[in-house]
Amino acid sequence: MSAPPIPEIERILFTEEQIERRIREVADEISERYRHGDLKLVGVLKGAVFFLTALARAIRIPVKIDFLSISSFSTRPAAPGVVRIAKDLDESIEGEDVLLVEDIVDTGFTARYLLQTLAARGPNSLAICTLLDRTPRRIVQVPVEFRCFEIPDRFVIGFGLDYKQFYRNLGYIAVIKPDWEQRGFNL
């Protein structure tokens, strides 16, 4: 493998070719599983956008798409708040076969909240498809029906995954160097 194109990257975990091949395999499984269904892919903004579009293109059955996003944790002690839908789906999912498309599942907190919220809206079925599954971090067990890759407990970027909102647009997935933070990474 050639040297990483960005110096702060320790190594490339999955190349574009590996990702593309694996997405095609998972898309085949999904196409088979839902061949008699009414499939809707629900992407979680922003990280899942890249994965969802690649996955949707590789799926061989008719498919609808929709997006939502959730609020994130605040450090302000006065307003700890609770997780909520920041941008809701545009359309109802009642009676549809919903596949929640995630970039990464780690603690399981977000996935569980989303599953609970969506399940209450009367879909015919509900499942999770994730690009990356970081099981060492799991606190809450959630069923993950489709996963492209399991990854170790490291900070990864690329293919939708960010560092301070950057690097989502990398075509590959990479592990950053452990001392990246200490170098005062600035963009």
Partner: protein, 339 residues
């Protein structure tokens, strides 16, 4: 005093709504599991007491706690067991069956037909239990002050409505339950319980939730954010006994997550102490093989709190520094839609 009862049918997400109300108003939450633990502490394990004294047990526990805290009680039948309390607001959460089936699908990882079957089973069990405890299987809507349908309202919207109703009625301004009122209630309860030969120990207090390490508070906040129910140090497990049967070593995990039947131990200590704790956890797993416990080591925890933007990574990190996740890794107070 402020006493809000929040109940609902299986799958109506009333426990979650109750938790949000308690958070919003700063009330103490008494969930079904917490109430059971308190009853066990004050009287005896639930299975060993006759079902028909349950209303009195609940009244006794709530009366004691209500002298010290404003309360949200999320235990079935609370609206019947506690009618004499001043400042009472009784809330019932309803949701259409299809929604409740959906909730059970996720919580029990079932398909729709199995979840529907489970729902009907839970409803039948609940009805039977209510009949044994309160002499009445069905709920009557006139026993509630507020009935909220969550078909279109999210739990936080329901919580907001309840908080507004509580504020409007001025239940907090009424103050806590007076000792005289508590004594009166306890007298009535004891009279009834004495017929069954049951005497309360009278030792009940809520342990103040004083976290012994800042990381525990952060973890609790994180659980709150994700609406995960938790209890702090609710149970101590004896690990070693002397020849007289006295406990000489025990272990108290930091958190219990009742929805997942999972204990969580945060280990943010020196390596020498970690070794000692690991030995205890190993022992715990041997003696109590049915207990699920997950250990979070300092490294894991730093990763987690950095990931959620709770703190900056340490200035002199260990060999493997804060490697966050890739959802929202901004170490600043949250942007609203990052992931």
């Amino acid at each position: 005093m402020g006493l809000i009862t929040v109940t609902g049918a299986p799958g109506a997400r009333h426990e979650e709504t109750a938790r949000l109300i308690a958070q919003r108003l700063g009330f103490e939450l008494i969930s079904e599991t917490r109430l059971a633990a308190l009853i066990e502490e004050e009287f005896a394990p639930a299975g060993s007491l006759p079902e028909r004294v349950y209303p009195e047990l609940m009244t006794s526990i709530v009366a004691r706690l209500a002298t010290q805290h404003h309360l949200v009680v999320s235990a079935d039948g609370a609206e019947l067991a506690l009618p004499e309390f001043p400042g009472l607001l009784r809330v019932y959460i309803v949701a259409p069956e299809s929604r409740r089936v959906g909730v059970l699908m996720v919580e029990h990882r079932l398909d729709r037909p199995a979840a529907r079957e489970l729902l009907h089973k839970l409803e039948a069990e609940e009805k039977l239990r209510r009949r044994r405890r309160f002499g009445r299987g069905l709920r009557r809507m006139e026993n509630f002050d507020l009935v909220i349908n969550t078909e279109r309202l999210e739990p936080e919207e329901a919580a907001e409505i309840v908080a507004a109703a509580a504020t409007n009625r001025g239940i907090i301004e009424q103050g806590l339950l007076s000792p005289a009122a508590e004594a009166h209630l306890q007298f009535q309860v004891r009279l009834k319980l004495s017929r069954y030969g049951i005497a309360p120990a009278g030792k009940l207090t809520l342990k103040p939730r004083r976290f012994s390490h800042p990381s525990e508070e952060i973890f609790a906040n994180l659980l709150d954010f994700y609406r995960v129910a938790w209890e702090y140090e609710p149970r101590t497990f004896p690990l070693q006994w002397d020849k007289h049967g006295n406990v000489i070593e025990s272990f108290t995990p930091d958190f219990y997550l009742p929805q997942f039947d999972l204990y969580v131990e945060l280990t943010t200590m020196k390596q020498s102490l970690v070794t000692k704790k690991n030995r205890k956890i190993k022992l715990l797993r041997q003696i109590y093989p049915d207990i699920n416990i997950q250990v979070f080591y300092q490294k894991d925890f730093e990763n987690l709190i950095f990931k959620y933007g709770l703190t900056r990574p340490p200035a002199n990190p260990p060999s493997r520094p804060a490697s966050g996740g890739a959802r929202s890794s901004t170490p600043e107070p949250a942007a609203s839609t990052t992931r």
